[in-house]
Structure formats: structure tokens, C-alpha cells
Amino acid sequence: MYRYDAIDAAIVADRAAEFRGQVARRLSGELSEDQFKPLRLMNGLYLQLHAYMLRVAIPYGTLSADQLRRLALIARRFDKGFGHFTTRTNIQFNWIRLGDAPDILDSLAEVGLHAIQTSGNCIRNTTADPYAGATAEEIDDPRVWSEAIRQWSTLHPEFTYLPRKFKIAVTGAAKDRTAARVHDIGLKLRRSRDGELGFEVMVGGGMGRTPYLGQTIREHLPARHLLSYLTAILRTYNRLGRRDNIYKARIKILVASLGAEAFGREVEAEWAELDQAAIDLPDIELARIRAAFNDIAFEDLPPVSAALNAAKAADLSLARFVRNNVAAHKVPGYGIVNISLKTPGDVPGDCTADQMDAIAALADTYGFGEIRVTHAQNLVLPHVKLDDVPAVHAGLQQIGLAAANIDLASDIIACPGLDFCALANARAIPIAQAIAARFAEPAMAERVGELKIKISGCINACGHHHVGHIGILGVDKKGEEFYQLTLGGSGAEDASLGEVLGPALPADRVAPSVDTLVDVYLRERTPGERFLDTYRRVGLTAFRSAVYAEAL
């Protein structure tokens, strides 16, 4: 994987030193809270309900084993022994003291980690397909381009004070594991008819209080022009985006109000005037980045592992794990192993320091020392020999992370909600736990099949409820926690926004209502249909009448 060079290391170390000085000035009273708040946010430090929260960037969701071990050390030394992986593929520590933050940033900097661009109105940490470099489905490795974006956007002076935050996702495969259509910019790698590598450029997607799907403004942008074209989009947004109203400041509002075609014309005009050659990455630098990601010496192996097949026959839980958590690898004899952080009963996305250390050890022993973070708040060991899958599974069982439920009903996305977050209206985690408990029986979850349930504790939609097959939004109704359900959303390549099922439900009605929705699906489905497919075929009414008939 790519390692930070001397320039990156110097930037990160300088930033940590600068923040140490800023904290000292705040503690002495030289800086007021109003002056300090934007500075701490630029270093990922938020004030939540019970403590400060530090959000650490995980560039395009890729971690080395050493970096994961460092996150474990920070969880142990400065937090309560755990961290929370987020839908932005970052990690958050929930119990941070301001006084400790400079030491934490120094410690992160030692392994090339930081909290730059995890907050504020800048280009945030770019996310990419967690199967990058491992799946045969990809046209090209999205990490190469994500790293180029990282270098270009890091502390970019022109784009540090945008009208609002800005998120970019890159998928290298047609099967979209990045939710590209609900990002400010979604980039999908493709090849033109004559074989030229390029991007489909989607702009203006987003969730929050006004959800939109991104619209394609360019079917095929030659890949080598990525950075100049992104510059043109950002300049157009910086110039035309609204700064008078925080709720209308995201690029999605601009694209929706101008229309994608008109917005695209503005971008093309801007792009035509740019000095593209000065911005686009030289081929030699791209080649350097690409080489850094091609450092894995795969062995020549038979495509089928006799050892794994024998182990599966002897162990049904392993067979289930392989069915649900192991995906095909581009290299024969290897697999992509998903680690679910959704063990029913636990907090979605939470990982203890001991678990992080154990996963880092598994990655070192069996997976070339690489770990990925997914936007569904799970982890991935992208390159594991099929022969080694039984050992990895056993290792995960020992740390309670062998749940075989990827994309099943118990693999629920949930934001921290009102248990931690100062913005939340309602709790999200206990709702997720109540639903997961109903699908804790693995055979039951498998019978239901793919069902993506996503829960947000407020309208800001960190839990991606708009694109859940079943979305759940916490609202405050006369001082009580209520939950609004939406159906039919998808963040994948068949992206869509969910439709509201009906009036919000009290907390204790949510899990039983999900049961009811699943019952309707099981009754109505035809062979091969997922929940989402059945919903799209039969429509909202059957589901609505079942839930609200019971609620009466």
C-alpha cells in the first residue's frame, strides 16, 4: 500500500505541533472558544455530549496493521478501550480530553495518521471501494486515484473554506460499494469504447435534510484529467454555491437549482479556461503511486482450496462465514474476507483495542498487513489465501467478530445517535441492537437474505437512512424519541432514495415493525428477489398497511 513520503510526514507532524500550540493558547485563555472551535474542528476534534470526540482520517479506508495497532494503543491509553468506525470509513474516539489531543495527534503522526479534513468546509477524506485491488470486478484500482485526490486536496488553500463540506467517493467497479450517487462527487472508473480509462462524473448527490442522487455531468472524463476537472467543479461550486443559508449550501442544492445540464456547462467552461497541465498529475507521479499499490506478491495457487472445502464440510459456522463474508478475489486461490463489526448485541461499528490488535495480527499473518474500512462500518482483509480462511475465521471467533452477516438484516448501519452525539434527536444504537436481536439466529437472517437497514439519530443522516432498504430516522416528537421509517432506498449501483412509510413510530414499535415488513416481504417475494426487489415490484401500500394495521 501507499506510504506517506517525507513531505506528507512533515505536513502531518507540523500540523500536530501547530495544534499543540493552539490548545495551549486556548487553555491559557489567549484564544476564546469562538476562536478555538474552528481550529479544533480542523483537527477533527468535536465536543459531544460526554466528552470530546476525535475523528481520525483513514484515507480511502485503507489501514496498515501498524496503523491499526496504533489506533488500538490510542483507544487504550486515551479512550475507554474502544473506537467507532464510521460511515465515512473513519474512526472516532468518544472519550477524548482536550489536554490529551496534542499527544494523540503526535502519536498518530508517527504512523502517518492524522485528523486533517475530517471536519470543516473542506474536501473531506475521500472514500473508495473497500475491495480495491482485490476484486476482479474493477476497471482500475480506485486507490490510485483516491491517493491522487488526497495529495491534491490536502490543505488545498482554495478549497479550505468552501460554502460547505465536500465529499468524494471513487468506485473502480460497476458494483458500487461506496454509495457514490449520494456523494457531492461520485466517480466511477470506466473504459470508453476505444479502451481509454476514464471516469463517469456524478455531481450533487447527498443525504441530510434534502437528499438527492448525484447526476452524471460527464459520461467519460479521460482519467488523466481528473484533478483539473475536479478543480473546475470545485471552483464552480465555490463561486456559485450559497453561503447565506447553511441548509442550502451543499453542492446538491446548487446542482438541483441550476439543473445538472446547466451546472455541467458551467464546469466545462471553467475547465476550458484552466491551465489543465499545471493541475493534472504527471504520468510519472501517477506511475509512482500506482507502483506503491502493486507491492503484493501473490502466489500461484489453484483456484479451489481443498483445505478450505474440507474445513467447511466439517464446520457449518465456517461454511456460513464463507457464504456471507468471503468474496471472490481477482487472484486464484485468494479471497476477500469481510469482518463484521455487527455482532448482534454489540454496538455497530465499535471495535475494542484488543480486537484491533488481534485483527492487525491476523492481517500480518494472513493478509499482507492490510485492512480496509467499509462505509457499512465493517472491516475487510482484502487478500487472504483461501487455505488460510479457516485460521482467520478461528481467530475472529476468539475475539467475538465472526458474525456471518454481511449485508444481512443484522448488519445494520447506525450513527452514534443521542447516546453520544450533540446533534442527535434520538438514539440509534439501541434501535439497531433491538432489530439485530431479532435476526441474531444466523439461519433466520440468511433466509431473509440481503436487507440493508440503516439508522440515523437525526436528519443529518450520518446513518445513511435515506438509502437503506429499510431506513430509520430518529425524530423528536413532543419531547419523545420517535422513528420515521422509509423503504426502498439504495446506496449501491441501483441507487434510490427511500419513501416514507407513514407516521413516525415510538421506539418500542420499531423492531416489531421491521419484523412485520420482513413478514410482508417473505410472503410476497418471488424466487431470487431481495427485499428491495420485492418492494420495488409491489410498492409501498402492502408494507404500509401491514405496519399501521398492527399499530392501530
Binding site: 486556548r26 487553555l27 491559557s28 485563555g29 476564546s32 472558544e33 465536543l47 459531544q48 455530549l49 460526554h50 466528552a51 470530546y52 475507554k80 472519550w95 477524548i96 480530553r97 482536550l98 489536554g99 454496538v347 443521542l418 447516546d419 453520544f420 434527536n425 434520538a426 438514539r427 444504537i429 439501541p430 441492537q433 423528536d476 419531547g479 419523545e480 424519541e481
Partner: protein, 122 residues
């Protein structure tokens, strides 16, 4: 009649604190209670002046349950206890009569935001 306390987050640790006798305490049970709105407003101004100790002091409504103060809103109850998902984390881990009183009334509150002054006090 309803009473109020003043709460904030401490600057250095970020944890939840309550006003008592010119300084800050960690447990709601030890907080100074105000029945008189003008005394509350005056004290709140004093509290807001302690800018190197705390961040953003504000007043919240409480009710008395068995003599123990309990925030009127569920948001403030979670602040006074800790996350409901981790009973061993936050103030609730210390236990005691004050914590038990809040936990016993951790259901629905009268308002999600316990912050006074959003709705003008009469």
C-alpha cells in the same frame, strides 16, 4: 414549581459539569438548584464568565424525584448519566442515589432539549 440547574462541559476534559457554589461539580445531585429565575440568570452570567474552565454554560429544567434532581429532558438525562449503550461508561458508572433517581426516570421527557431560554421563560 420547577427548578433549574446550570450545566456545561469542562474545557480540559469535555465532561459534563454542574454549577455549585461558585464552581463546578461532576454529579447532578450536588448541583446548586435555582427556583428564582432572576437568581438563575445572574448566576448564569457569572458561569459564562469562566471561559477557561468550561464551555457554553446553560440552564436546564429539573424535577425532584424522591428528593433527587432529575433533568426534565431525555437528552439531559443521557448527559447526566452517560451513554445508555454503555452502562459502565460516564457518570452512571459511579452509581449512588442521584444516578439511580435519573436512571429510574430515563424514559420519555417533556422536551428533547433541556436547554432553557430557547423557549423564553415567563
Amino acid at each position: 414549581m420547577s427548578e433549574a440547574v446550570i450545566t456545561a462541559n469542562s474545557l480540559v476534559a469535555g465532561d459534563v459539569v454542574f454549577w455549585a457554589g461558585g464552581g463546578w461539580v461532576e454529579a447532578l445531585a450536588d448541583a446548586e438548584r435555582f427556583a428564582d429565575p432572576s437568581a438563575l440568570d445572574t448566576t448564569l452570567q457569572t458561569a459564562k464568565g469562566q471561559t477557561t474552565t468550561v464551555i457554553d454554560p446553560y440552564a436546564i429544567d429539573i424535577v425532584l424525584e424522591g428528593g433527587q434532581p432529575v433533568p426534565a429532558s431525555y437528552r439531559e438525562r443521557i448527559r447526566a448519566l452517560g451513554p445508555t449503550t454503555h452502562p459502565d461508561h460516564g457518570k452512571q458508572a459511579r452509581g449512588g442515589a442521584g444516578v439511580e433517581a435519573i436512571a429510574a426516570h430515563a424514559g420519555a421527557g417533556v422536551r428533547s432539549s433541556g436547554r432553557l431560554g430557547l423557549i423564553r421563560r415567563k
